[in-house]
């Protein structure tokens, strides 16, 4: 077991190192001068040069790469060029929105997708199945930002139940903050659950054709009991795989939904950072995203084992 962990840890570090190099090199060739962007159209050339010097942009690339890497390893993510505050503060502010939003959207997605997916499989080729599949098809075809705009028009502009967007912050009134995330979470969950419902349905259908279900039925279990008692757990492997991918996606910040609801999440931070050439923020956030994906994949692997204990010996 410890060998497995060591192997995983090594792969994890190698991935990070490779990514850091790729990220750094890509940003090196990106056109645009951070100092010029900060000082704007009318800045004197010597003012731009002074700022470049101050930001350390004139030092050799290898030196800048190693300084950044060393800082990252020791937990010092550096200061944002644009905001002049530590990058870590910006990231903490943003994930206070992005993580709760991703969790809310994911919980909704799982609730909707599992119930409708299993329901559709149980009613295979009957009206209930068709209804769910039609709904899922629409959900997949509909862009989530468009659904978000519809929600805003109905619940915020017409009914006035919600704000049209924005995020009041957790410290004043957590309930207000929670409320601000409901419409975005619903918009995100709709599309995600449509995808997950289809996966769930076909996974359950596959399982229902298995011999052990027939055996269970033969020994007298009702269809429902056979499905819940024997089928569901076996159908979970592909479902959990897709869930892992979806959660990783949601955690990266969803730039379009963040724009529709003007939420200052991680997606908008990285978008702004790229357009303003706040390269230190871009580098740090991308690295954190890579770490996050690797961690989620690891957790999904653990879930596999929990679902199917046979996998424990297979590794």
């Amino acid at each position: 077991m410890s060998a497995v962990i060591a192997q995983r840890l090594f792969a994890f570090l190698a991935t990070l190192l490779a990514t850091s190099l790729v990220v750094f090199l890509v940003l090196e060739v990106l056109p645009g001068d951070s100092a010029q962007i900060m000082l704007g159209v009318d800045a004197e050339p010597d003012a731009v040069a002074a700022l470049r010097e101050k930001l350390g942009l004139n030092r050799p690339a290898a030196e800048r790469y190693l300084t950044w890497l060393a800082g990252f390893m020791t937990g010092d993510l550096g200061d944002s060029y644009t905001y002049s505050v530590p990058v870590i503060e910006l990231i903490v502010d943003r994930i206070a929105i992005t993580i709760p939003l991703a969790v809310m959207a994911m919980v909704l997605t799982i609730a909707i997708a599992l119930t409708t997916g299993v329901f559709a499989a149980a009613h295979h080729n009957r009206p209930g199945d068709w209804g769910v599949m039609l709904g899922a098809q629409i959900g997949i075809a509909m862009p989530n930002f468009w659904f978000g705009i519809l929600l805003v028009l109905f619940f915020a502009v017409t009914l006035g139940w919600f704000s049209a967007g924005g995020f009041p912050g957790w410290e004043d009134d957590p309930l207000d903050a929670f409320k601000a995330l409901i419409l975005p979470a619903v918009s995100l969950a709709l599309v995600q659950s449509a995808i997950l419902a289809r996966v769930t349905r076909s996974a359950v259908l596959d399982v229902l054709r298995e011999d052990y279900i027939r055996t269970a039925r033969a020994k007298g279990l009702s269809k429902r009991a056979a499905l819940w008692g024997h089928g569901l757990r076996n159908a979970m492997i592909p479902v959990v795989t897709v869930m892992g991918l979806q959660f990783a996606f949601l955690l990266s910040g969803t730039i379009i939904i963040e724009n529709v609801f003007y939420l200052p999440g991680l997606g908008r931070l990285i978008f702004q950072a790229i357009s303003q050439r706040d390269l230190i923020v871009v580098k740090d956030v991308v690295m954190l995203m890579v770490i996050k994906v690797v961690v989620i994949n690891f957790l999904v692997d653990l879930l596999y084992v929990a679902i199917d204990p046979r996998l424990k010996t297979a590794t």
């Binding site: 990106l30 056109p31 645009g32 001068d33 100092a35 010029q36 962007i37 900060m38 000082l39 704007g40 159209v41 009318d42 800045a43 004197e44 010597d46 003012a47 731009v48 002074a50 700022l51 101050k54 644009t82 905001y83 002049s84 505050v85 910006l90 502010d93 943003r94 119930t115 705009i149 805003v152 028009l153 915020a156 502009v157 009914l159 006035g160 139940w161 919600f162 704000s163 049209a164 967007g165 924005g166 995020f167 912050g169 309930l175 929670f178 409320k179 409901i182 724009n259 529709v260 609801f261 003007y262 939420l263 200052p264 999440g265 908008r268 931070l269 702004q272 357009s275 303003q276 050439r277």
Partner: protein, 495 residues
């Protein structure tokens, strides 16, 4: 049945949060802005978003720009100018305190202006202070500024964000926690979402201030701007409401629509050094080929004043030069033929992100095609535009709004991105205008500059960027025009 229960529970959950949007309290105003400022100190960054929040509200200069563009005293009670125009003496308000309680005196004026002029600092606006020789404080309530040469724009320069008076004690933290002498003090900044200011008890005229709290929220998406206003999340959006949405707000009695003017001259900029644009006839042909009204209609839904030179119609020295090159494709074609391009030529038109550029590019390309010029559109993000167009001058044509006030002096600069060949002459005229103390004489020189730029057809001068604003019908005191970037809240109140 189970499904029904779940649906009912979900509805109940939604309904329990369905408290109607809180009505704005009468001493709070919530303004929306498109861009978030990078920092809150206007002396270290040129971003107008900073000035839109802090200037006249949180930070003050010796002077201030008012709604009609005139210059009034601020931290200075009054000032006098020596007969030769070289020494300005400012009598300061006494008993003024910063938001942290510490007293303001002439030493702060000396400190702030010397810092702004410091060649070692990365201050983007340093060129503004080119005429100042020295700043001194003969006594705590008096500050004097001695000039190298007469400089009539000084009171204006002292009013803008770059000249804000700050305290040496707090200046290091002004980027994220600005401390000034204005009617409002910094409360907090939720990055990416909003900046909040509250009324300052230290303000010398605090009884005149009717608002207790102001919130500036940042909403980059045009659809979201409209929805936020309609949903009552905002009381005002003072600059940059999407022009397409104006008809809707005009019909709605809850709102007032205000169409004013900014200092933004929107131009089709030409690389004067590049062939064939080094030929005056070709540049004039471009000016004749472009139909300003069609652009204003197509891009700005009809809002925006046509201009014929690089000068704001709000300024008293403005003269209407739109008649110099009326829309005349036939004459444009004849000029092109005379210059040796009877069949036109191909150019690239580089477009920065704002809508006026992206949409304007399409309209202009169609208009140029009618005189035989094939324009290839190239959208750029800001960083690329600053690098390729502004810094390296690697472009043929581009569309851009120059939003600084009195920025005609750019035409006198060496090496500016237009590569204008007549810049030495214009620089001499700008210097003459700078040195002229008599306002009438000075306006005469400014008119000469306008004419010269139009005759040389340096760029195609298109329109003045409008200030398209929407606010609650019972909100009073916001600026109609934008003579300088500022959302001055000193006189704002609810009716």
């Amino acid at each position: 049945m189970r499904k029904f229960t779940i649906a009912a529970l979900a509805l109940a959950a939604v309904a329990s949060f369905a408290v109607s949007a809180p009505a704005a309290t009468r001493d709070t105003v919530r303004l929306g802005m498109v861009l978030e400022p990078p920092v809150l100190d206007p002396t270290v960054s040129p971003a107008s978003a900073i000035r839109e929040i802090v200037t006249n509200n949180l930070l003050e200069g010796l002077t201030r720009i008012t709604a009609d563009g005139s210059i009034k005293p601020a931290l200075a009670q009054s000032w006098t100018v020596s007969p030769n125009g070289l020494v300005y003496t400012f009598k300061l308000h006494t008993g003024v305190r910063y938001h942290d309680g510490s007293p303001f005196s002439s030493a702060d004026v000396v400190y702030s202006l010397r810092r702004a002029m410091d060649p070692a600092a990365a201050n983007p606006g340093r060129n503004l202070f080119r005429a100042i020789d020295k700043v001194e404080a003969p006594d705590p309530a008096t500050a004097t500024i001695t000039l190298k040469y007469p400089f009539a724009t000084l009171p204006y320069v002292l009013a803008i964000g770059d000249s804000s008076i700050v305290s040496e004690k707090t200046v290091a933290n002004n980027r994220t926690n600005p401390v000034g002498t204005g009617p409002f003090k910094f409360s907090r900044w939720v990055k990416g979402d909003r900046v909040e200011l509250i009324k300052a008890d230290t303000y010398r005229d605090k009884d005149k201030i009717k608002l207790n709290r102001t919130v500036f929220r940042f909403i980059p998406d045009p659809n979201a701007v409209v929805n936020a206003l309609l949903a009552g999340d905002l009381d005002a959006f003072p600059l940059g409401v999407p022009a397409e949405a104006i008809a809707q707000f005009k019909k709605d009695k809850r709102f007032k629509v205000s169409i004013g003017m900014t200092e933004g001259e929107t131009i089709l900029a030409i690389n004067n050094a590049k062939k064939p644009f080094d030929d005056l006839r070709v540049r004039r042909a471009l000016s004749l080929a472009v139909d300003r009204h069609a652009i204003i209609d197509g891009v700005m839904s009809g809002y925006g004043a046509p201009i014929g030179s690089h000068f704001s119609p709000l300024h008293p020295a403005y003269i209407d030069l739109t008649g110099v090159y009326p829309h005349d494709p036939a004459k444009a074609k004849a000029l092109l033929a005379e210059a040796g391009h009877p069949n036109g030529f191909q150019v690239t038109l580089r477009l920065p992100p704002p809508q006026y550029a992206r949409k304007g590019g399409e309209v202009i390309a169609a208009q140029l095609a009618k005189v035989g010029i094939q324009a290839k559109l190239e959208p750029l993000e800001w960083a690329q535009w600053l690098d390729q167009v502004l810094a390296r001058k690697d472009y043929d044509l581009t569309i851009i709004s120059h939003t600084e006030a009195l920025d005609y002096d750019r035409y006198g600069r060496d090496n500016y991105y237009w590569n204008y060949a007549g810049n030495k002459d214009v620089a001499a005229m700008v210097e003459r205008a700078d040195r002229e103390i008599n306002p009438a004489e000075r306006n005469g020189i400014l008119q000469e500059i306008q004419k010269r730029l139009a005759l040389d057809a340096v760029n195609v001068f298109m329109f003045q960027l409008p200030k398209i604003a929407v606010w609650r019908a019972n909100l009073v005191g916001l600026w109609e025009n934008s003579p300088s970037p500022s959302n001055d809240l000193t006189d704002v109140y609810w009716k």
